[in-house]
């Protein structure tokens, strides 16, 4: 077995940590994040390591439960994005011709739309909520994956062995499963990781803007509530209230980015070579 590259190890480690926290939140969290477990705005203490928020919820518990929201969005929105992207990109690359032209036009068009304002508009009309967030992310971010997948499928499709497989009577389904899918496996994994990272950042951003699910206490929502407190930055309260969730978001996004870099190295060994 090859040694895991450092960036992969880092990414996987952080992900595993957050995963464990999300799964075990009820066990490791000292309180129910929705319970009034103390006075409002308590400073950190033995009972509340990160203090309490403006309504007396334990911040540490909120933080731990927040991992669930972020990871759910990462997984669901990432998977949705990649699924759409792979389907469209695969279809365009495999079919070629006018199908390809129409789909790629669509991709180009979507890529030139300003995404965040569009997301805000969509969420504003769809209503805020986790399912909506996931849906909107998947609907707007698939073109990036589609482009990459299309390019790869196109290049595989014209290889000799695929043509031979067709010659031997392999139908499109056979060719796709046997030859094309394996060729895009790592690319799909890479797309998943990158989209998941984007999804986490977007979800946090939406929650921050007040477009997140008001019932799902996410890290972005925590930052928003903290910022709502007038004069937050005049004391050091933000250090244990706003900073930890922001750091968690950063760390999770960073972990996914590193994982992506690791996968990219695997995809393109040329990146490893030192230039002369």
């Amino acid at each position: 077995m090859r040694r895991l590259p450092a960036e992969m190890a880092f990414g996987l480690g952080i992900l595993a940590l957050f995963g464990a926290v999300a799964l075990l939140a009820p066990v490791v969290a000292p309180y129910d994040p929705h319970a009034f477990s103390g006075q409002p705005l308590e400073r950190p203490s033995r009972a509340h390591p990160l203090g309490t928020n403006d309504v007396g919820h334990d911040i540490l518990s909120e933080l731990l439960y927040g991992a669930r929201v972020s990871l759910t969005v990462a997984l669901a929105a990432g998977a949705g994005t990649v699924l759409l992207g792979t389907l469209v990109g695969g279809a365009a690359g495999y079919a070629g011709g006018w199908v390809d032209r129409v789909l790629m036009r669509l991709v180009d068009g979507m890529m030139s739309l300003p995404r965040l304002p569009l997301i805000i508009l969509l969420i504003a009309f769809l209503g805020a909520g986790l399912p909506q967030t996931i849906l909107v992310i998947a609907l707007l971010f698939w073109p990036t994956t589609a482009r990459v997948i299309r390019a790869q499928v196109q290049s595989v499709r014209t290889r000799g062995y695929v043509r031979m497989a067709r010659l031997f009577g392999g139908g499109p389904a056979y060719v796709f499963l046997r030859h094309i899918l394996p060729a895009i496996g790592t690319l799909v994994a890479h797309g998943l990781v990158v989209s998941a990272g984007t999804a986490v950042a977007i979800e946090a951003g939406l929650a921050f803007l007040g477009l997140g699910d008001p019932t799902a206490k996410s890290w972005g929502l925590m930052v928003r509530f903290a910022l709502n407190l007038p004069g937050l930055f005049l004391t050091d309260r933000w250090l244990w209230w706003a900073l930890p969730p922001a750091l968690c978001i950063t760390l999770l996004v960073l972990a996914l980015t590193f994982l992506g870099i690791g996968l990219e190295r695997r995809l393109n060994p040329r990146l490893n070579r030192r230039w002369q």
Binding site: D108, G109, S112, L113, P114, R115, L116, P117, L118, I120, L121, L122, A124, F125, L126, G127, G197, A201, A204, G205, F208, L209, G210, L211, V223, L227, F233, L234, D236, W238, L239, A242, L243, A246, L247, I249, T250, V253, L254, T257, R274, W275
Partner: protein
């Protein structure tokens, strides 16, 4: 030359098409959404009911929901081109006016940050790429990798705390000192400048990471090209190699990405303006979202989209000027 001209016309058309898609999307979205959010505004039984009769009348007139869809569409388009973007529910003012008062702030913020981050990224990226594999390169890559992944509001919070609250050097919020009356233009510029520093710096850092990595990686690719070997074999001075051939080629993808970066900058601006209470479009979005002020959200969406599309076109044309291969296909 003819082919170049054709290419140019083609681009412009494709942007006009995108613009039309956006306009239409903006028209259809609120009308097709489940639950009919617009109707709710005029329905006394709904929680979104608009109580101000004047605003209600304006809304009714603007959306004209009782008319056939095509007529609504035609009126909508005519309205857009005559500058009528509807009326804010919350502030009871025309959306066009609101946007016009906010747009300059955002342009100032985004423009400053785009210029700064581009300049820094080009210089640092070129140097890092030139020294690929060295310790300087690795350190720069690590720093920018981090920058590219930190949400802007985190950097912003740190700055507010450090320079605003702790050190008290710079204002923590707003675009200018409230209720200030300026004696001279210079005083006004200074005040606005002081308020701009932190948000602009935050946004600059927010974009720097991605831009730097783009320049640096392209530079590494360019340096591996055969023409760089030839340029080196020609005995050209280092500066000519690095900037004249290296960056000159590495700048092409950078320019091609400018439009995407403009979109990114606007995204960042939304967060930063919210955080710094900066009176731009981003803050306006934030406020309107909180108040469910649909006409404003739509208006902002339209204007921002138009700005991004224009940036797209501009970047494309710039790229065509810089790269003789573009446009000729």
């Amino acid at each position: 030359m003819n082919r170049v001209f054709q290419g140019f016309v083609g681009r412009v058309f494709s942007y006009l098409f995108s613009l039309w898609v956006i306009l239409t999307l903006n028209f259809l979205l609120p009308r097709l959404m489940p639950g009919d959010p617009l109707a709710a505004l005029l329905d006394p039984a709904s929680s979104d009911y608009v109580f101000d009769p004047e605003v209600r009348a304006a809304l009714e007139a603007y959306y004209g929901l009782d008319r056939p869809l095509l007529e609504q569409y035609a009126r909508y388009l005519v309205g857009i081109f005559t500058g009528d973007l509807g009326r804010s529910i919350r502030l009871s003012r025309p959306v066009g006016e609101l946007v016009a008062s906010r747009l300059p702030w955002t342009l100032l913020l985004v423009g400053t940050a785009l210029l700064l981050s581009s300049a820094l990224a080009l210089v640092a990226g070129t140097e890092a790429g030139w020294r690929r594999g060295s310790r300087t390169d690795r350190a720069l890559v690590a720093v920018h990798l981090l920058l590219a992944n930190v949400p802007v509001y985190l950097t912003g919070m740190l700055f507010i705390h450090l320079f605003g609250a702790r050190l008290g050097w710079l204002p923590m919020a707003g675009g200018r000192t409230p209720f200030a009356r300026y004696e001279t233009l210079l005083a006004a510029a200074l005040d606005i400048g002081r308020h701009l520093v932190l948000p602009a710096l935050t946004l600059t850092l927010g974009m720097l990471g991605v831009k730097f990595l783009l320049v640096r990686n392209t530079m590494v690719t360019v340096l591996g090209e055969d023409f760089m070997l030839v340029a080196r074999a020609k005995g050209l001075p280092e500066g000519r190699l690095k900037w004249g051939h290296g960056l000159r080629n590495a700048v092409l993808p950078f320019v091609a990405h400018l439009a995407a970066h403009a979109g990114m900058a606007i995204t960042g601006a939304v967060f930063i303006e919210t955080l710094f209470n900066y009176p731009g479009m981003g803050r306006l979005i934030f406020e309107s979202v909180t108040a469910r002020d649909y006409p404003v959200i739509q208006g902002v969406f339209l204007v921002v989209s138009a700005v991004v599309l224009t940036a797209n076109l501009a970047a494309d044309l710039l790229n065509a000027r810089l790269d003789p291969r573009v446009l000729e296909g």
